[in-house]
Every structure is written in C-alpha cells, then in structure tokens.
C-alpha cells in the first residue's frame, strides 16, 4: 500500500498533512504518535472511512482513492475498529460467517440455501487460529472485553485479507489478554501485511518491523524500532513525553 501526499483538513485544522508512506507486502507497520497527532484520521483515510481532502491511496499498484467502502474486502483489505463494532446480538460464529460469506458467496443470492459447508469450514479455521472456538456460539455482546477485541480481528479475517488494518486492537485489554493477542498478531504477520495503530510502546517495538511516527499530522520519522528510538525529533516530540519508554 502506498499513499501519495495524503491530506485531510477539517475546517481550518489539518489533521493529516501530506503523508506519503509505502508499505511493502508482508510488512508489519506501526503508526504511532502523541495524542492528536492524526493517527486515527490517517487510519480512517487508509480504511476509506474518510474521504481525503487531497492525495491518493494505492493498493497493489491500483488507485483505490475512489473505491466504495464495501469493495475493500474484495480487493484484500480488512480492518478492525477502535471501538468494537460487531453484530452484537449474533453469535461470534455468525459474525465471522457473515464476513466470510460476503466474499465467498456470490452476492444477492435470494433463493439458495444459507447452509454452505465451505463457509463453516472457513469460520472454524478462523476460530481455531484465534483460539476462540470455546466461545463461538455466544452472542458477541456477552463476550468479555478482550474477547470482543479479538472478535473484531476475527471478523476482519473473515474476508481473508492480504492487508489487515488494526486500529488500537489492544485498547483496554488486561496484560494476559494483551500477551495472547500479541502472539496471535505475530502469527498473522507471517502471511499478512499489517498496519497497526497502538499506544503500547512495548508492544509496538516488539511487533513492528517498521514504525512511522506522526506529529501534527506529519511524518517526522520512519524506520525500524531502533532507528525511531534514536531519532532526536521523535525523542523530543513523543518519547520524551513518556518517561516509561
């Protein structure tokens, strides 16, 4: 995925300012920055949730700046939401199934049976990958917070994405849950490109191959964990503010 001069203004405020980044296949990229740096806006631009003021986004060499939202999964992009956004009254299994079906079954099939064995196999696979088979039949509204965060990932995986956009997936998780999620992300990263927004610096440094640092909507650094950590501007703008790092 590449962005070229991506800019988003809200009235007089420039939330994302001329961002050009490039993420190669199978890379694990993290986007960090202090509060209000424009991470969320950038994420929403990448996920086509917000229309850019100017600039373009390309995926696989193809310009997707004007692609309708519902077409993203079909070209291989999946996303999670910062605030869990699920089919609350349905079972976890059904949540994933709906995501798988969106791509695996031709659309607008009104006179076929809903029972498609291949779908169930695919759903079971995802459940197993995330270690969530035990809670598969519970309505997601009744799952624990950590499981709901993972359910977000599971639904995103339903479209077998080649690029996975993770919006603060660990927010509010307990240390044990975080550890479990980190293991899962590591496993996913083996065959998926991942763009991650996260506050937990330890996790970011542990997982990401490359880190992009935003400040005031601009990219101020881009490199490996070590490079970013030693970058003077980053230390001043961000890490300096967080002595724990």
């Amino acid at each position: 995925m590449q962005t070229e001069g991506l800019t988003k203004r809200f009235g007089g405020v420039t939330a994302v300012d001329n961002v050009s980044i490039s993420i190669v296949e199978k890379q694990f990229r993290a986007i960090i920055g202090p509060n209000g740096a424009g991470k969320s806006t950038l994420f929403n631009l990448l996920a086509r949730h917000t229309e850019p003021t100017s600039g373009s986004i390309a995926f696989d060499g193809r310009d997707i700046s004007n692609l309708p939202l519902h077409r993203l999964p079909s070209i291989g992009i999946g996303r999670t939401f910062q605030k869990s956004n699920l089919f609350w009254h349905l079972a976890l299994r059904e949540n994933i199934r709906l995501a798988v079906q969106a791509l695996a079954v031709p659309p607008y099939r009104f006179f076929r049976s809903r029972a498609v064995p291949e779908l169930d196999t695919a759903v079971d696979k995802i459940l197993e990958r995330l270690g969530m088979s035990a809670v598969a039949d519970q309505p997601v509204a009744t799952l624990s917070h950590g499981d709901q965060r993972l359910a977000e990932v599971a639904v995103a995986l339903g479209g077998s994405p080649r690029l996975l956009l993770l919006d603060e997936p660990l927010a509010g998780m307990s240390p044990q849950e975080t550890q479990r999620a980190v293991e899962i992300f590591k496993e996913l990263a083996k065959h998926t490109t991942i763009i991650l927004i996260e506050h937990d610096m330890d996790v970011v440094l542990h997982l990401a191959e490359r880190i992009t640092v935003l400040e005031m909507g601009r990219v101020i650094a881009d490199g490996t964990g070590a490079e970013v950590q030693s970058n003077a501007r980053v230390r001043e703008a961000y890490l300096g503010l967080a002595p724990s790092c």
Binding site: P68, L69, R79, Y108, F111, R112
Partner: protein, 334 residues
C-alpha cells in the same frame, strides 16, 4: 420460600423450553398439519362468512410477513406499507374492470405493478433509515393514497369500486371462481406460494446479509456488503409480496376502497407484525390471524373494538417487544 419459588420457575421454564424444542423439532409436521387443515377447511361445511374471514386472515398474513422482511430482517420500519398492498388492490381491480382479464393475468398485473413501484420508490428512499425512513415511507404512501382517492374517474374515489371476480382461465382449462370455496383454494395456494418465497429469501445467504444490515449497517458495509442494493432488494421483495397480498385481497373481497392505502392501514399491518413477533416470519402471520379474528369478534360486540386493539398493541410494545412468537422462541435461540 425463595428456594421453592426458584425451583418452580425453573421447572416451568424447563417445561416451556422442552415444549418449544418439540415444536421446533417437529416444525415441519406442524406446518404440514396447518396447511392440510387450511386446505380442508371449506369441506367442513364452513359458512360463507367464515370462508371469507379465513381468506382475510390469509391475505393479511402474507401482507404482515412481507412487512417482516423489512422490519424484522432488514431493520427498516415502514409506516407506509399500505402503499404496496393498495397498489396491488387497485391495479388488479382496474385491470379486471377496464380490460376484463381473467384471474391469473389480473393477479400478475397487480404483482408486477407493485414490483415496479417498489423499485422506483425504493431507489429514492432506502438511503435513509430510522425515523427518517419511517416518515418517508409515510409520505410516499400518502402521495399514493391521495392520487387513488382523488382520481375518481379511475378508482371511484371515496365510493370505492366493485370488482367482479374473474374466472381462472388457462390454455384448455376454465375454472369458475364465483363460489367462495373455489376462490378460497386459489387464494390459499397463492398465499402459500408467497410465504414459501419469503421463507426462501429469509433463509438464503442474502437473507443473512439483510440480518447483518439490521444488526450493524456500518460493519456490514465494511465486511463487503453493498448496503444500498441489499436494502433495495429487501424493499422490493417486501413491496412485491405486499402487492400480491393486495391483489388476492381484492380478488376474493370484490371491493377496493382508498382506505386500504391510508396510513392507518399501514399502522394496522404494523400492529399485526409486531404483535406476532418481528424477525420470526411466521409470527406476523399468526399476528394477522389473531387481529382479524379479534376485530371480527369484538366488532360484533362493540363498535369500539379499536380500544382493546390499541391497548394490546401498547402493552406488547412495552412489555413484549419480541411479540408472541418471539417470546416462545426466546428459549430456543442458537
């Protein structure tokens, strides 16, 4: 004391659950039995009045089911569903009186016109949801109501129009439909066909997509469903089935009145659907039957039958939002 009470409740709920499980397990047989009883009904020497009453229950039932596709399965509450029922009624009525077609073309004409109208209206209004959608369906149905009410040259206006019942003519076959029992079988067969179609839709992959939209439209879009098209399809199917119900209604009733298009008529079918249980498909059918029966029984007792109806509706919304069938099914949900 408390202990005994909880145990009693537990045994009761367990008994209820096993009953529901039994019903769910043997639902095919239950359905088959219901169909057989309905089919044999005229042979029991039922009075003409009651044959008509059952036909009213059947057509209203199909109408309520069609509304459930929109409310229960797509999450769109329409306050103008009378528009499509009325379109079916009037297009069939006008076809019969002006061109003298036979039974099947009259029905098909009604269905086709409601289909076209549902697509055209749907394209404009399915972009909205919630209150705005409800008010917009109300507005669009009132536009149609005014047109049919005022265009007296075509529709007879306030006086309504009498519609002779045509015979069923197929190549090499002509069936006299003047007897209420003969048309009963036709209406029953068509209503069953409609319910079958609705049932297929709801249980299809696309039906699952509609539920996704009902549950969380934003997420449904993000996992790859084209919201606009799915909503439009649901709206169209719902409107077409409602039109079919309207066509059948005027065929056996023999009379079309603009009241059928008024918003209070839309409200009535909403009551049936919600009473029976939205999202259960068969619930609204039962709801429609109950309301028609209630109206019949109460209106012979008092002219104020709307009062208990209103009370029941308010109590259902307040205490039983899942409706009658929804409550029974609660225990058996996945």
């Amino acid at each position: 004391m408390m202990g005994i009470k909880t145990v009693a409740i537990e045994t009761m709920s367990a008994r209820l659950q096993s009953m529901v499980a039994w019903l769910v397990r043997y639902r095919r047989y239950c359905l088959a039995a219901a169909v057989i009883v309905l089919a044999l009904l005229p042979l029991f020497g039922l009075q003409k009045y009651y044959v008509r009453l059952v036909m009213e229950m059947l057509t209203y039932g199909l109408w309520a089911i069609s509304l459930d596709i929109m409310i229960g399965f797509t999450g769109l509450v329409s306050f103008g569903h009378a528009a499509f029922f009325g379109l079916g009624v009037y297009s069939t009525a006008i076809l019969i009186t002006k061109t003298g077609v036979s039974l099947l073309p009259a029905l098909l004409g009604g269905v086709a016109l409601s289909l076209v109208a549902a697509v055209l209206i749907g394209i404009v209004i399915v972009r909205l949801s919630g209150i705005a959608f409800a008010l917009l369906t109300l507005a669009s149905s009132m536009i149609l109501f005014t047109v049919f009410w005022r265009w007296s040259a075509l529709t007879g206006g306030d006086d309504g129009m009498s519609v002779p019942r045509p015979d069923l003519k197929l190549p090499g076959l002509s069936l006299n439909m003047q007897a209420d029992t003969s048309v009963y079988w036709f209406v029953l067969a068509m209503v069953l066909l409609g319910i079958y179609l609705a049932q297929r839709v709801v249980n299809s992959p696309a039906g699952a997509a509609l539920v996704a939209i009902r549950e969380n439209q934003a997420r449904a879009e993000c996992v790859g469903y084209n919201i606009f098209r799915y909503k439009l399809l649901a709206f169209t199917i719902s409107g077409t089935l409602a039109g079919m119900a309207g066509s059948l209604y005027v065929i056996f009733q023999g009379f079309a009145s603009p009241d059928l298009l008024h918003w209070s008529s839309s409200g009535q079918v909403l009551i049936m659907t919600i009473l029976g249980g939205v999202g259960t498909l068969y619930g609204p059918f039962i709801g429609a039957g109950l309301i028609v029966l209630l109206q019949d029984k109460l209106s012979s007792l008092t002219e104020h039958w709307m009062l208990p109806l209103g009370l029941i509706f308010v109590l259902v919304i307040r205490f039983l939002p899942k409706g009658l069938l929804g409550m029974v099914r609660l225990g058996s949900q996945r």
